[in-house]
Symmetry: C2
Amino acid sequence: MSGEEKGTYCTVSFSPDGVATDVVRGATVLEACRSAGIAIDAVCGGTGKCGRCKVRPEGSFDPGDTSTLTSEERRSGIVLACDATVTGDLEVEVLPRSRIRKHQILTRTPEAPVARLSPWLKKVLLELPRATLHDNTADFERIQRTLGDRDLKMPIVTLRNMPHVLRKGDWTVTATVADLEGRGEITRLEPGDQCGSLLGLAVDIGTTTVVGQLIDLLTGDVLASASEYNRQISKGEDVIARMMYGEEEGFEELTDLARETVNSVIERLLDDVSRGREEPLTTHDLAGASIAGNTIMTHFFVGLDTRFIRLEPYVPVAHHMPPRSGYDLKMDIHPSSEVLLFPSRAGYLGGDVVADVLASGMHRSNDVTMLIDVGTNGEIVLGCDEWLVSCACSAGPAFEGGEVSCGMRAMHGAIDRIRVNEDLTTSYHVIGDESPNGICGSGLIDLVAEMYEHGVIDRKARIQALPTDRVKRTDEGLEFVVEHKDRLGKGATADLVVTDADLQNILRTKAAIFGAATVLLKKMGKELDDLDSLVIAGGFGNHLDIDRAVSIGMFPDIPREKYRFIGNGALEGARLALLSSEMRNDLVEIFEEMTYIELSVDDDFYDEFSSSLFIPHTDLEKFPSFRERKLPEGTV
Amino acid sequence: MSGEEKGTYCTVSFSPDGVATDVVRGATVLEACRSAGIAIDAVCGGTGKCGRCKVRPEGSFDPGDTSTLTSEERRSGIVLACDATVTGDLEVEVLPRSRIRKHQILTRTPEAPVARLSPWLKKVLLELPRATLHDNTADFERIQRTLGDRDLKMPIVTLRNMPHVLRKGDWTVTATVADLEGRGEITRLEPGDQCGSLLGLAVDIGTTTVVGQLIDLLTGDVLASASEYNRQISKGEDVIARMMYGEEEGFEELTDLARETVNSVIERLLDDVSRGREEPLTTHDLAGASIAGNTIMTHFFVGLDTRFIRLEPYVPVAHHMPPRSGYDLKMDIHPSSEVLLFPSRAGYLGGDVVADVLASGMHRSNDVTMLIDVGTNGEIVLGCDEWLVSCACSAGPAFEGGEVSCGMRAMHGAIDRIRVNEDLTTSYHVIGDESPNGICGSGLIDLVAEMYEHGVIDRKARIQALPTDRVKRTDEGLEFVVEHKDRLGKGATADLVVTDADLQNILRTKAAIFGAATVLLKKMGKELDDLDSLVIAGGFGNHLDIDRAVSIGMFPDIPREKYRFIGNGALEGARLALLSSEMRNDLVEIFEEMTYIELSVDDDFYDEFSSSLFIPHTDLEKFPSFRERKLPEGTV
């Protein structure tokens, strides 16, 4: 680099992190953050839309467009990292809310037991007759003959090692046999008797987090669990932002990041289980894997273009991919191991939902069950052992921290439970017991229910101009103060408020979910009363106050004992499919039998959605327990 | 490199090539040859055993062990390149006979027609319904649905390109479908209608030469043929030398060299067919390949260890390998294309012989047929449509130019036909019509037959001390002068002679073949008269005078009209298996049904071999046509 060119570089340092990086003059502050390894919240992928990446720089910079900031924020020197550019050396304070922080990640295993431990991976002890001049068939054919399976396959990597393993084990070897889709394959050979240990990996590749379990395939036990943020987050927080990033430039990068995250989880699982062992486990000890993820994450992970999922008519490259090898997917497991990829049903109804269904057991029950998984999208499955219908609604990311100014994901600093007091002050619980930075999904549902109960909002979720300092008017309309600035987390520059616009987003989200549920029931000629069971899947459900979710008209008003939480159904489904050949077959059946209804072209859906844009609904008959309650004054 | 270290390097230049190379002081001249790219004949892999790598250095060198050279050779400054070491700068003359030269390579297609053109590769035009919101299943499932095959597979490479190809072709695409072992797989998708062209590759990977054909799978036509030396030759001419080289250090190198050779043949085939075309063919146009080779070449090509084939009890890694992709084998064809690898039956009975059987059609005929393929080893198959037995005999490389002082392969400069005149001078034909450098297999058979007929040798192939300048006595015994030095090729330093030792090697070779043939017949309770047909396969057969081969007792004395030549049966078999699913199934049947008899532990074989160590045989009843002829005087 010449002396002159060198001048185009600027040093950007970050507090309180104490790290610095050199970036080219004109780079955005967000780019500097990424370069320095500062995990910053940029839901929109850095396009200036979400307004989440607030930082306070000091030094030489161009603030860029700050029109989405409050005048108070502007006054205190806050800018958006994605729009502010570096014009010289700079010190940057990253506001706490802008950081990606530790989540509450579910690795809990629900109680539902495995039907029968029958993994499609097994170990077989082979005591082969020694090769002699009278019997000098090839090593591979000797193994086929001993196993009595002439159609047995062997990947080239295993084939290459085979002669040495056979002779090292003096003709006694342990074969790991994978039986996938009727095709037997020896994926690994070990010298001697190694039948006492057989390990597998179950993974849920989520948009936000990747969770893995290391599983003993001989006992079904979960030996270790680990989770980590999906490293793709730095390229856009939601799937749309990431798909756009991938289309523009970073497709391979996104695939690499997804794989890196999975491999990092694997490393932690192996470290965890190896602790205290005489011989630490190696990646080669992982004999197989089962992976559930939404359609987009699965595409990125395998390396398939997501472009046509994003664009209408939302077409994935493939739903049901044949098993791949660990080597194919660059996973840190045995290179020949089979990796079962959960099939998706649609672009926005992925393998994670198929896994939910598997984990719920609804496909094996006479009961008519509805399964709801609320994340950035809401996915709903209705059915029993004879039929299954499903749909996805773009519920919007309101409950995942998006599109709501005070929203955040269920991580440390998030209000997850809240009550509005008689004087309209609030009482709440914060994850991690710290000062609040925002409100996560379950908190938002609480908040709407409470605000409605206290007459702060009407049936259309419009804030009422009450004579209290908790309701304020701004240029954009009314807002409700959830907590004052001085009681918020360090670095807070404004009160924690929920605005009219926020509430409309939440209302649309809950209406989409309830509307979709109603459409599915209608398609099958069912009423709410016909539901024998309602299963809530996903991390969201675990923190949820069902009563309040029902009271705002988000979930059906059926007897509460019919509700069941299965937690991380994607991970649980992945585990089940790894442990049981029956479950693996079920998986294919679920995929093949589940009808998918595209709501975006469904006339019913728009009607049902519109009818649900009320608290709880235009049709109070649908909410009998709510009807009996005393409605607050001033409501329509 | 420091100045002093530099002094340890010496420059070796070669004449008449005009090339030079630097090697470390102490390197052998053979290493210098290899470094300079001089293709030198080192049958034994440079272990000093074959005495073929004669060179004449001038300058600073240590001649090494010259005890195997004649005194005349020693006097003229000749040394063995593998044993002579470089001690300073050097000029080296490589003697013409020591060079690897242009072979006569068979690419002729025998007349036997394909049973029915039914390739396991086909192209299918797919006119897919356009994806809409009402029908937005994934691209892959759309193709499965259109083809009505839900079990259809697709390699990951094809899957990745698929969405773009579908849209480029506006939902009309051409799928290349491979049907291998009951599993349908789309290996390639092209936009639009490309059904008019479908090409495949048939390859025979021989120890000496690699021969390929580019085949039109729609018509069965051979569009181009090309051949090239197996580049492994520089690491040892025969399989034993190469296996040893591989075990010591150069295993991956041998795999790379085999693949390089195949890829070079492919390049030439594509160039050949592309000439004059508007759009030249690319490697991606090769949709599949069929490869026949002996067990060792196949192992090297796939990358499997050959160590245990070389050592007793001669065990390959695998006989029947599942098809691999072009990508797996690093072949310059479509990466997803299926490559059919011919199964071997034993370490020394390879896919080339299975291909011979396929090409001969003997497995489909009522006739009892014997197939003989003579190369470095002799392989013999006996059978009909109901049974097949086979064996391999280490015939020795006498007919391939090894273990015979005047022997060479059937390349330019080799005597391939010879007559001994009444005055014991000789008349002969030289391949390429040049001065002779040696005698190839067919020439040696002629020579032995003629020498016997003229009383130069007795029934035990011992040279008679006749009063003629053509018979000379040396320290090692008697030798017969085939041609005087002055009539030989440029650079000849001695007469072209055949020695007693040479003749004993030839005798053992012919005895091994006839003995093995007799054992197979005996095992099946058959007599020579029961043979309906005798098929000679391999390059050797094409130049052969059957009458003479019978007269020395190498081939059975049955009516000559029962003899049939199929030339390069390995290549022909590879072609047939590519063009016909039936033939591909036959291949597996031949592999599974053919019994292999290990002669090295067969008591009968030693007896039969010993009885055959006479001209033509101890039992003249076996050679009726010979018995009727006038025997030369002085014979036993």
